[in-house]
């Protein structure tokens, strides 16, 4: 079976799973874990957009 993901969708899937593991392993209480996981996810996806814009501006 072959999976074809675009760069963006691969980055979002990566961010999702990495954030789940970071949330569980880096914080103690459930609330803290959820908050940290969401924060990590937002940072990952935000980083993707930021890097995308930086590369687009450099290319111009």
């Amino acid at each position: 079976m072959t999976i074809n993901l675009s760069h963006f969708s691969a980055a979002v899937v990566f961010a999702l799973f990495a954030s789940v593991v970071f949330g569980i392993t880096q914080k103690n209480s459930t609330i803290e874990q959820v908050k940290y996981g969401l924060q990590c996810f937002a940072m990952f996806v935000g980083g993707v957009f930021l890097a995308g814009w930086v590369m687009a501006l450099i290319r111009r």
């Binding site: 079976m1 999976i3 899937v13 799973f17 789940v20 970071f22």
Partner: protein
Amino acid sequence: MAKPTTDKTIDRAADKSRNAAAVTEPEYPLTTMAVVAPLVGWLIPGGGHILLKRYGRGILLLVSVVAMFLIGLGMQGRIYKPNGGDILDILGFVGDVGSGAFYLLARIMDWGNVMAANAAADYGKTFLIVAGLLNFIAAADAHHIALGKKP
């Protein structure tokens, strides 16, 4: 000339040592579970947490690591073999080994033995390495839970 030792200086020294004792971390004795849990966690992602009765966390870790590993294989990612060559190849092998039983299964079944030169395969290779590295973090977390450092 030596300074005379007063009661005040003795009290201050005693206070200092008492504060130092309060600041030092409590000791966490190494138990059998603190050794077994990370090993099980490495072999089966999330297994250490499940062994320690953290079922929810264990299942989430299992799903996350296995999903990343399978997506990596699906994207034609390459599985590194033990090697003594380029430093990046060695690190790639270390990352891949983190997936434990899934790495061994992939080697036995000869999965990921591809040399596809496209972007998706490169992402797949990264997914496989990161799945292993995340599993190492999960195993370390299981060790901390077993020691009592983390609830």
